[in-house]
């Protein structure tokens, strides 16, 4: 096949006919109604359906809390709402709910299902991704901040171009096979699968299109060609998996702060060094040895000397090839002249090959920690040399093995440091000869014991101040490490015949779906440009799919089923919308209100449909059994996470701290292949909301996994809600339930009216006299704990009505 030049092919029209399928048509700009209920009532009238009346207020507040926050309201919150007689009571409740930080946690669960987010690689090795949680927190915060949806989407695809690196965690949130082989077929297939995951997830999550179907052949049902698929692949062709430091926006203000911190650091270092020499001179006035070297930080001070070169020679380590985290040389003004950024150049005797984290460039990069260090290629020895940009008057050198203090091996224990003005003649300024011998457990602060009390106190204050300032500087200079997309220059992308990696056909340019429009990118467009162009194309008000898909999902989060009940497929194989005009009005209104999700959700919550009774009605059920026309509010079972959160909440054990590293429900056995063993017992550390569970692919929580909890391997737009005996066994017999029942019993057991209080707490309603009689009798025959155990298992507690 002839290869056309980049631009020629990019502009070549593909064989896609314009489609008359509804979802490819522009979103209607003119609407017959301007209210959710107006559309719904009209459709009901057409079906001869009569809507039920408004639900009781206690039902409503419970429903709103469970739907929007994933937690039941407290009896006090219910009382407050019931006692609010003003006509604005409901609006105020909705405002409170949308302002609650729990809103973001609840919405994030839906979103993380859609973005197949998990914190391990999957496949047989299934190793953890300890920094992936930053993406989860980003999603929570974005919902809570009501980040405009178009911006949110763009950040997922090209956050690195928008000061939101973390958004690109989306691209690499899926499974990743790290088992590599010299077999080239396998390697190519693995890469194809990685890219397919990005394309599929982007297609389903944002566009409601099953683009993945076109990997091997043109889409059977939708106007998506195989070329479209590989054009999408070209967009992601440079995206790689891994952990990296996120880009840190360094503001001028930060630079100023760093300079100030450095200055006070130098002052403190000088004073400390004086105290060190004081300790080094014993009471008889004789010089004693300096403290032994340590891995975290060693300081060498000497008479100010003019130098253009420094050489650090290592003759012995405490094991293996020597490692230097950082070598810093300070001039008399406290500036580090050895920094690469200051124009200094490092050379060495040789570098350990094969480890990107250990490089010569890391010796003087200003970044600290093992992952930014140099290692020699010789066991026990090696040298490094740094040539400064110009000759400087220097007086202090700092060097370290791992400034974070985590790693203690590969430490230089026999070394010398020399300076030179011309690189030929060298003078010794420091060495290990006047230090205590390295004893394995060097205590850098051992000298404190040799100082008189006031000086010792002063020295330890200085050490604390220095540590704090160092960490502040590091925080301002080093970005945070997270599992986000890594980028490389993309190679050429070919269409692959039948999706076979070895069956390359013509080259394809990066592009979006032809049926909606072209990105007009050159064959060799830069990597970031590709993703940014796709992001703009998706998050555009002109894209007929994006806003429709988004509002349909919001509808589904609120009502349980979307207006289109195949929320990730608005193609010809998906179902038609039950209320097409309503969908378009919502989509149009959403965009007009700045893609504000809270705006659209407020519309839905304020509708009569949301506030309707959920009572069954056999006449209506004969016409519309699944309540798709909203003659009632359709009840549904809570998801696994909301059940667990709710149990903790009513037991009074829920730890509401937000964000940060997740909690584990597994004991982790880290071999080459990581094994996860469900914990038998959980404690307060595991009693946070389940969105903060360290989410392991494949492995399911031993109690709540059986409640249709996705395992992060597939995009899940709608959860199944099955009912199984295993769920019953888990919820009835697990240690978790027994513990929480115990806590609930302790919380209420002492009250005289503990039975009605339990009903208020778990169901947000009073007990009926029947219920109360039965409960009192049961408690009398058995005990209150047994009652609590039963109540936590009841349907009323587990369902949204």
């Amino acid at each position: 096949m002839l290869a056309l030049s980049g631009n020629a092919l990019a502009k070549k029209k593909k064989d896609v006919e314009p489609s008359n399928h509804w979802s490819f048509q522009p979103v209607a700009a003119e609407h017959r109604h301007g209210r959710v209920d107006a559309f719904l009532n009209e459709a009901m009238a057409n079906k001869n359906l009569r809507p039920l009346g408004r639900a009781e207020r206690r039902t409503l507040i419970r429903r709103a809390y469970l739907v929007m926050l994933g937690l039941p309201p407290s009896p006090e919150e219910v009382a407050q709402f019931l006692n609010d007689d003003s006509p604005q009571a409901w609006d105020r409740l909705v405002d409170r709910i949308l302002a609650s930080p729990h809103y973001g946690e609840r919405m994030a669960r839906h979103w993380l299902d859609l973005t197949r987010f998990a914190e391990s690689n999957g496949f047989e090795t299934n190793r953890e991704r300890p920094s992936a949680w930053h993406f989860r927190d980003y999603v929570i915060e974005s919902f809570n901040d009501d980040k405009p949806y178009d911006q949110f989407v763009k950040e997922h695809l090209a956050g690195d171009a928008m000061g939101a690196d973390i958004g690109t965690g989306f691209l690499v949130a899926g499974p990743y096979d790290i088992v590599k082989s010299p077999d080239p077929n396998l390697t190519l297939m693995q890469r194809q699968d990685e890219l397919a995951d990005m394309i599929n997830t982007t297609g389903t999550a944002f566009l409601g299109m099953t683009i993945g179907c076109a990997r091997c052949h043109d889409h059977k049902f939708d106007p998506i060609t195989q070329r479209d698929y590989y054009s999408m692949q070209a967009i992601f062709a440079g995206v790689k998996f891994g952990e990296r430091e996120m880009k840190k926006e360094v503001t001028p203000n930060d630079t100023k702060k760093v300079a100030a911190l450095r200055e006070s650091l130098t002052v403190a270092e000088r004073e400390l060094e004086k105290l060190r020499s004081m300790a080094a001179t014993n009471e008889k006035g004789l010089s004693v040895l300096r403290p032994a070297v340590n891995a975290r930080l060693n300081t060498e001070t000497f008479e100010a000397t003019s130098a253009k070169f420094v050489r650090f020679t290592i003759n012995k380590t405490n094991g293996a090839e020597p490692c230097l985290d950082e070598l810093a040389v300070f001039n008399t003004r406290g500036g580090n002249v050895a920094l690469a950024k200051a124009g200094a150049i490092a050379t060495s005797s040789g570098n350990l090959p094969g480890y990107p984290i250990h490089q010569l460039a890391h010796l003087n990069d200003g970044k600290t920690g093992n992952q930014w260090s140099w290692i020699s290629n010789q066991v026990g020895r090696g040298w490094v040399e740094i040539e400064f940009a110009k000759a400087s008057l220097v007086e202090r050198i700092e060097w370290s093995r791992d400034q974070t203090g985590r790693i203690n091996d590969r430490l230089a224990i026999d070394y010398k440091i020399e300076l030179s003005i011309d690189g030929k003649s060298w003078s010794l300024v420091a060495s290990s000869n006047d230090r205590e011998p390295f004893g394995g457990k060097a205590d850098p602060n051992a000298f404190l014991a040799k100082l008189p009390a006031p000086e010792a106190k002063r020295a330890s204050d200085l050490i604390a101040e220095i540590d704090l300032n160092r960490s502040r500087i590091a925080a301002m200079q080093n970005g945070v490490k997270a599992w986000v997309a890594n980028f490389s220059k993309p190679g050429v992308t070919h269409r692959l015949h039948r999706g076979e990696p070895m069956a390359k056909r013509e080259e394809v340019p990066p592009d979006a779906l032809e049926v909606i429009g072209s990105l007009d990118l050159a064959m060799d467009a830069p990597e970031q440009t590709r993703r940014l162009a796709l992001a703009e194309w998706i998050a555009s008000e002109k894209n007929p799919l994006t806003a429709r898909v988004a509002v349909n999902r919001l509808w589904q989060f609120v009502f349980g089923t979307g207006i289109v009940d195949t929320p990730s497929d608005l193609g010809t194989n998906g179902t038609l919308p039950t209320h097409p005009e309503l969908l378009d009005w919502l989509a149009d209104d959403f965009v007009k209100h700045g893609w504000s999700m809270k705006h659209t959700l407020r519309l839905l919550l304020n509708s009569n449909a949301f506030q309707r009774s959920s009572q069954p009605n056999s006449a209506a059920a004969r016409i519309d059994a699944s309540s798709r026309f909203f003659w009632r509010f359709p009840p549904r079972r809570l998801e696994a996470e909301a059940i667990r959160d709710g149990m903790l909440s009513v037991a009074g054990t829920l730890d509401r701290r937000m964000g940060g590293q997740g909690f584990h429900l597994f004991d982790v056995d880290r071999e080459n292949v990581v094994h996860y063993h469900a914990k038998d017992e959980t404690g307060p550390a595991e009693w946070r909301r389940m969105i903060y569970l360290f989410k392991i692919r494949q492995e399911q929580d031993a109690v709540f996994g059986s409640f249709d909890c996705p395992d992060g391997n597939q995009v899940i737009p709608t959860r199944s809600r099955s009912t199984t005996p295993l769920q019953a066994l888990n919820l009835f017999n697990s240690r978790f339930t027994m513990q929480q029942a115990q806590k609930l019993a302790e919380r209420l057991g002492a009250h005289a009216d503990r039975v009605p209080q339990t009903y208020e707490l778990l169901y947000n309603r009073p007990a009926t006299s029947d219920e109360r009689r039965d409960a009192e009798k049961f408690i009398g025959d058995h005990n209150f704990l047994a009652f609590c155990r039963a109540m936590l298992n009841t349907s009323e507690f587990l369902f949204i009505f």
């Binding site: 010299p182 077999d183 396998l186 099953t210 199944s720 009912t723 066994l729 009841t794």
Partner: protein
């Protein structure tokens, strides 16, 4: 589309309905929210309309009718994790023996999973004719060899990946990626189960741990959680099955009764809501499972001769201990089949207690030493299981499937005494209901490297298994993310040659 099986099945369900739940069940058929409803049926990629099983949410495991008359009603899958070598077991190649120690033609250019090839290596275990049919099988598995006449071999199996995780996924779910429904989940989704008080689908992991793909091998994927495999073995019970510590049986039973009363009271305000009825039914079934699962896992009432036959009576060294533990799992598998469990997946080999080849079939470096342990552990109990099923007449309705994620190379790896992965030609066998035996279908080349005759894919393999169960693999599908997903993706053809004439 009116589906008459649907109605029939409901009647069937009513007759099965559990104590005191007749009214509930009746109400439930008014509203089948979630799983049925007025669903739009879409053509699958094969151009056929799907046949949806009619699942009653109050009893998702109720037995359901297949698409056509089935040849088998149950499946017992024996899965050797780590990739058992066909070269050292079932695939006899005189040419390999003749050219032992010589380079494999083209082998110098061949890069397999771990790298370069050494020379051709005949099996260290001798092939001998077995059974009436004289099928050549090695001394590694002599007792299974004795049952050669029961087996229907597929010697031309091919996979599409040479890594274990994706390989096990592929063999168990039809997809190399994680997160797709396992064959057992598909089967129980379609057919439910005859075993009223037991899980419909049981995975029996090796006592040493789980296979490489772990729970994904019996996961539900995107099918409802009701169809996932329940995993337990003779040594480790189902989690949360036992009554919590410190509770008397009386209080436990009274608590359940109180719970059910509360749920009934609540149901009165929501009559006809099948989800609520399903929950009530699920607690009743759970209570029955608390009795029936320990009953089926309690092997102490098995007679001595059975324990002896399965090798479950001897201990004292590593091989005997492992054989006894696996033997007990084999007895458990037989008992589950006896009780009507639809799909039983029995694993031999695990990854927790040592990687490469130590406690699984991944013999890269020291195959002789490692298989000298694995062979005896597998052989006697598996053979006893097959014989036992036959004696009890269970093979009339049960299809036995023996498989592994892929096979191994006829060469040793360069500089090692073991074989690398080989997805291009390996052996699986079937036995029991629906297949010809003794029979061999398909063949690899002269060395057992690549399948060359009667080449079969994992898709064909499952198309055939589903066919034997009376299911059309192109019509058993589930709508997920815009696609009618199938166990066989968009591929597969029934291997008609191996089907028994009825």
């Amino acid at each position: 589309m009116i589906d008459t099986r649907h109605l029939l099945n409901r009647r069937n369900f009513l007759s099965h309905s559990v104590n005191g739940l007749g009214g509930v069940a009746l109400a439930s058929i008014l509203n089948q929210e979630g799983l049925l409803g007025a669903e739009k049926l879409r053509e699958s990629a094969a151009g056929k309309m799907p046949i949806r099983p009619s699942i009653d949410s109050t009893n998702p495991h109720a037995p359901r009718l297949p698409h056509t008359v089935p040849r088998a009603k149950q499946v017992l899958m024996i899965f050797c994790s780590g990739a058992i070598s066909q070269v050292d077991t079932w695939d006899y190649k005189p040419e390999l023996i003749k050219r032992h120690g010589q380079p494999m033609p083209g082998g110098d250019k061949l890069i397999t999973f771990q790298g370069e090839q050494g020379n051709l290596m005949k099996s260290p275990w001798e092939f001998k004719p077995r059974g009436q049919s004289g099928k050549m099988i090695t001394d590694l598995l002599p007792r299974l060899g004795d049952l050669a006449d029961e087996m229907c071999f597929l010697h031309g199996m091919t996979g599409k990946t040479n890594t274990h995780g994706p390989g096990e996924n592929f063999m168990c779910t039809g997809f190399t990626l994680d997160g797709f429904p396992s064959a057992g989940a598909w089967t129980t989704y379609a057919l439910g189960s005859e075993a009223e008080d037991l899980p419909a689908y049981v995975a029996i992991p090796d006592v040493r741990g789980t296979p490489q793909s772990s729970v994904n091998c019996w996961g539900p994927g995107f099918l409802p959680a009701a169809f996932q495999g329940t995993s337990f073995n003779a040594a480790k019970a189902v989690r949360n099955l036992a009554t919590p510590n410190g509770l008397t049986g009386t209080t436990d039973a009274a608590t359940r009764a109180f719970l059910q009363r509360q749920n009934y009271r609540h149901l009165q305000n929501h009559l006809g809501d099948s989800q609520l009825e399903a929950r009530i039914a699920s607690y009743e079934l759970a209570a029955r499972m608390q009795l029936s699962i320990p009953e089926v896992t309690e092997l102490s009432n098995e007679p001595d001769y059975i324990l002896k036959e399965y090798g479950a009576d001897e201990s004292g060294n590593k091989i005997l201990d492992l054989r006894a533990a696996y033997g007990r799992n084999c007895i458990l598998a037989r008992r589950l089949i006896e009780k009507g469990v639809r799909f039983v997946q029995l694993f031999n080999g695990a990854y927790q207690t040592g990687g490469e080849g130590v406690s699984n079939w991944d013999g890269h470096k020291k195959i002789k030493e490692q298989y000298d342990i694995h062979g005896p552990v597998l052989d006697q109990p598996t053979a006893a299981l097959l014989k036992d099923l036959k004696v009890r007449g269970l093979l009339d309705d049960t299809l036995v499937v023996f498989c592994s994620e892929f096979g191994r190379m006829p060469t040793f790896q360069k500089g090692a005494s073991g074989r690398d992965h080989n997805p291009d030609g390996f052996t699986a066998w079937l036995a029991g209901a629906g297949v010809k035996a003794p029979f061999s279908y398909g063949a690899t080349d002269e060395f057992s490297h690549k399948a060359v005759e009667g080449v079969t894919t994992v898709y064909d393999f499952y198309a055939t298994i589903l066919h034997i169960l009376g299911l059309d693999h192109e019509r058993l599908s589930f709508y997920h993310n815009g696609i009618e997903r199938r166990l066989t993706d968009v591929h597969g053809a029934v291997i008609k040659e191996i089907l028994a004439s009825s």
